[in-house]
Symmetry: C2
Subunit: 243 residues, 2 copies
């Protein structure tokens, strides 16, 4: 009787795993709604202020040089097209020379995708799809293997620290998470202090960049190694600091 | 004797798994180098052409309206600052109202990170790090659970198609990969035809967008749902097509 019931209703009553999956989905949806409300309240005033400032600057520029709004708009549209091809007002390094293309390919296979460079030609776009499919899969596989190696090493390390008192066993998920979290935090702080010296960002901005890059979100608002005279900055700030 | 040898050299001679990990790393490095060469040869001419075109346009604009290069540069720098706050020449929708912030939060937890919106205030940046840490982890966990559910369902489906001839067993990695690949391809094609109607992109551009979004690379060169009169375009192109 019980078997019949569970059999005929198995598609209606979700299993425990399915229920957990649904619950997590609902939680994430709420988390996103809460996040939307908070970020909106934080960033909306800054957006409105930026809009006003830009409107004023555009109007003033038009008045000062006696240019119609339409002409200015055309210039800015052209500039936007130029930007997608990688042109910036501040002189930056070339985007599609071999080192630049290597950086680009790195942002693809790691799925960071800063978007400073993106293929502009049709052939480039088509190629990217196939290149990315293979490249991203390979990188994900690599990081899985790499993490497995790290976990094995951690297990051995914990085993040795315990002085062979207990037998060797795989470290628990919590141990690995904790150790990796501390390691990532240390690396992030180290990288952030390096970036803040090399790129002229504040330490907080550098930490933010580290999170955005390491989590593979990659907004592209802060991107390392884009300036023309990178080595000069490095020398000025790190080797010969103004003090 | 043999045990001693393998014991003392275990840290020098890599295990089979470690060797596989190294090999994959080397392969990815070569793959990236090859990709860099190909993308550079494809995109470099377009970049140079865009540079020349933009130089000419800027020069012409300066001559025509008798504006010094410095003044123009100042305007464009201001425009770049305005862009990071989400201002575009083409009127777009507000970025940090509640729907906009929800879209932003979605690009964070999915790690797509188009970068059209990124927090501009310091508080927003700091909050993002903590918000993202929890959000990304939860989403990754959800997709893992979800994929597990899908695999279980696929297993059941294959089991039923076989007519209970064989006992139930988990489908192989190859079966799952193949089925998921076909499913993703179908969804991508469907989504691409939808996007090309809604956003005014070509079908190829829409497919490229689908790849960039689904793979969570998220360059941000094509972003859906950014236009002001989205519903109008949808109506014009889909409901009342010009024929
Ligand atoms: K990304
Ligand atoms: K991105």
């Amino acid at each position: 009787m019980k078997t019949d019931f569970s059999c005929c209703c198995s598609s209606l009553i979700p299993s425990r795993d399915t229920a957990r999956c649904y619950l997590l989905f609902v939680l994430i949806a709420f988390y996103m709604l809460a996040g939307a409300a908070i970020f909106s309240s934080l960033e909306r005033p800054a957006e409105l202020q930026a809009h006003q400032l830009w409107e004023k600057r555009l109007r003033d520029f038009g008045h000062e040089h006696n240019i119609s709004r339409e002409d200015l708009k055309t210039l800015l549209l052209h500039y936007e097209k130029a930007r997608t091809a990688g042109i910036r007002t501040e002189p930056g390094r070339a985007l599609w020379d071999i080192p630049g293309a290597f950086y680009f390919v790195g942002t693809v296979v790691s799925t960071i995708g800063f978007g400073v460079t993106a293929p502009s030609t049709v052939t480039g776009k088509v190629l990217l799809v196939f290149y990315g499919l293979l490249g991203c899969s390979a990188t994900i596989l690599f990081f899985n293997l790499f993490l497995e190696r790290i976990i094995t090493l951690l297990g051995l390390l914990i085993f040795r620290c315990n002085g062979w008192k207990t037998g060797y066993r795989k470290p628990s998920v919590y141990q690995v998470t904790l150790i990796l979290f501390v390691a990532v935090l240390l690396v992030a702080c180290g990288a952030a202090s390096l970036y803040s010296a090399m790129e002229g960002w504040t330490f907080l901005e550098s930490l933010y960049f580290c999170f955005v890059a390491f989590s593979t979100v990659g907004f592209g608002d802060f991107v390392s190694g884009q300036r023309e005279h990178h080595e000069d900055t490095w020398e000025t700030n790190c080797l010969f600091p103004k003090s």
